[in-house]
């Protein structure tokens, strides 16, 4: 009887602790299932060569963030050599399923779950658009409009407005990651190149066989970048540069993806900088930036939104890294 009471007390304690947590410093998980449709996993089933590469990409960011966090971004070989090569090995293993990112970065997930969930939802939008492009749907545009509406219904949705990425790259800690870890930064930008470069070729290819064919040179370029990271690039690849037709047809999605990729860069900088030395400070800054500058719910007050009709980048801040060859970002969209 005494044991029973003790166990009942323990159970009640768990429930009370859960309730207390719910009332105090709590983060809800808020996982959402992807938009359910017949074309789900069309990329995996129809164009496996590309799907495998995206599964490899999924590993990269999480592995980077976890290693930056655990090393305090103080150990350059641990990032540039060990963590980067782990990522390359995973990509080389040609994974047929996307990895469990919580197993890759358990500490980062606990540090900044809201930011991770923001990434997860945007990555699901990426996947959905690839699936639609590779599916045999006749009316792809309607399907894409539906998934965008579904995405934008999420409280974790990144703004579909055009943001001034150059200004978002001028925080006190901005560029710290690319300066300290140029190889891994260029590897990350290579992922972003792959993610946006495939849209126009896939959209233009009428059949699966042609789609398979048109992504080949992009994959060759991508693997060339992995082998020899393009450290000469001065800014992340933009959707408008690499898939202009897609960006013109779906400007909101192009904005979401560019904003997503910029948010990745911001978080890499926050995890690298010495200006935010503790995990708690990094967490607060990640959440501040995510919620104030990236979430669509902040559109009314977001100072980085580019007003309609104005150029993408403000030009008010330095665009070029010292010593860079020119003001162009360097990734022309041509393939090696």
């Amino acid at each position: 009887m005494r044991t029973q009471r003790l166990l009942a007390l323990f159970g009640v304690t768990i429930l009370i602790a859960g309730f207390t947590g719910a009332c105090a410093q709590i983060e809800q998980r808020d996982k959402r299932f992807y938009y359910r449709a017949l074309w789900n996993f069309a990329l995996r089933e129809n164009l496996q060569a590309l799907d495998i590469e995206f599964n490899g990409v999924d590993f990269g960011h999480s592995n980077l963030y976890e290693n930056l966090l655990l090393t305090g971004a103080k150990d350059i070989p641990a990032i540039e050599d060990r963590a980067r090569k782990e990522t390359l090995r995973f990509i080389d293993s040609r994974p047929v399923l996307n990895p469990n990112e919580e197993a890759i970065a358990p500490n980062y997930m606990k540090l900044a779950w809201k930011a991770q969930n923001t990434f997860d939802e945007a990555h699901a939008l990426h996947r959905a658009t690839y699936d639609i492009y590779v599916s045999d749907l006749v009316d792809k545009e309607t399907a894409i409009r539906k998934v965008v509406a579904f995405y934008r219904d999420s409280q974790y949705a990144i703004t579909a407005k055009r943001l001034d990425h150059q200004r978002l790259d001028t925080f006190s800690y901005s560029k710290s990651f690319r300066r300290k870890f140029p190889l891994f930064n260029a590897t990350i930008w290579a992922y972003h190149y792959l993610q946006v470069a495939v849209y126009d070729p896939l959209g233009a290819a009428p059949t699966l066989a042609v789609k398979d064919h048109v992504v080949e040179p992009i994959l060759r370029s991508y693997h060339g970048y992995l082998d020899k990271p393009p450290v000469e690039w001065t800014f992340m690849p933009m959707t408008e540069e690499l898939s202009p037709k897609f960006a013109a047809e779906y400007p909101e999605i192009a904005n979401i993806f560019d904003n997503l990729h910029m948010m990745h860069d911001n978080i890499s900088d926050i995890l690298t900088t010495d200006l935010l030395p503790t995990w708690e400070e990094k967490r607060k800054e990640i959440y501040r930036v995510t919620q104030a500058y990236y979430w669509a719910s902040a559109d009314a007050t977001n100072p980085f939104i580019v007003p309609d009709g104005q150029p993408h980048h403000s030009g008010l801040t330095p665009v070029i890294e010292p010593g860079a060859p020119g003001e162009h970002s360097g990734h022309s969209g041509g393939h090696q």
């Binding site: 159970g11 719910a22 808020d30 996982k31 359910r36 293993s93 197993a103």
Partner: protein, 257 residues
């Protein structure tokens, strides 16, 4: 009969090497494959169908096969609804709340995701309706769930209490159960398809005057494809009443869509 049942199970294990479903191999659901669950629910909007077969070799009495179908729906934010049943061979010998053919509806609510300072917590409420053999009254179960990670290891504790609506004979009117487990994703950094789970458990016996069935289990969940997880597990009730399971094994599939 006991020998025949064992043969059936063995045949099943050989014929279906990748059989129990869960939508994400790292998201633990009770009995898939062993008695533990983590504090996380399926994503909002997901529908999961799970099914498995439990083989229980009892120290005294007939061995049992139990089919365990379950439907899980991510109905709301951080909330899953469940519909499940256990269908057992030798149904008239079952005592306690898991009568063969009972229909159980439940809800699991996840209070929070784990942070650096706070474990993840969840609570489950279940109602067992007396649709099964020899069943009377509506049973009610409440369970508290906690998950805490340590690097890639995750530790889980489930503590629950079941109130029997209409206990029969020597059945207790209420029973507690406690399960503790650890899980670990195998394969990092080159593979992310498997999670291994080990648990220890004790629960109050179904009948008055008997010892707690207490034991251990170990299981594996394997991501077969984007939508399908297979699981397999074994275990033993090391201590407890004379009709305890000296060996049990499960095999099953979970499909998410």
């Amino acid at each position: 009969m006991k020998m025949n049942t064992s043969r059936v199970v063995l045949l099943f294990l050989l014929m279906v090497p990748t059989v129990v479903w869960a939508l994400d191999h790292d998201n633990l659901d009770p009995n898939r494959p062993i008695a533990i669950e983590d504090a996380y629910v399926v994503p909002k909007g997901e529908i999961g169908v799970e099914g498995g077969i439990l083989f229980s070799d009892r120290k005294r009495g007939e061995s049992r096969l139990v089919f365990q179908p379950q439907l899980i729906i991510g109905a709301f934010n951080n909330t899953q609804l469940e519909l499940s049943s256990d269908v057992s061979t030798d149904p008239r010998s079952v005592v306690g709340d898991d009568k063969s053919g009972n229909l159980t509806v439940g809800a699991l609510y996840n209070f929070n995701t784990e942070t650096l300072s706070l474990p993840a917590f969840a609570a489950r409420v279940q109602l067992g309706f007396p649709t099964g053999v020899n069943a009377k009254g509506v049973d009610t179960a409440v369970t508290g769930v906690m998950t805490r990670s340590f690097g890639r290891w995750r530790a889980h504790v489930n503590v629950g209490y079941t109130f029997l609506g209409s206990p029969q004979g020597l059945e207790r009117s209420g029973t507690y159960r406690v399960v503790a487990a650890v899980s670990y994703p195998l394969g990092y950094p080159t593979s992310f398809r498997d999670t291994i789970i080990a648990n220890v458990f004790t629960r109050q016996s179904d009948l008055v005057g008997q010892r707690n069935p207490t034991g251990i289990g170990i299981g594996l969940r394997h991501q077969v494809s984007s939508r399908v997880v297979a699981d397999i597990g074994i275990g033993s009730e090391l201590f407890g009443p004379v009709d305890r399971s000296v060996f049990f094994s499960t095999i099953g599939l979970s499909v998410g869509f």
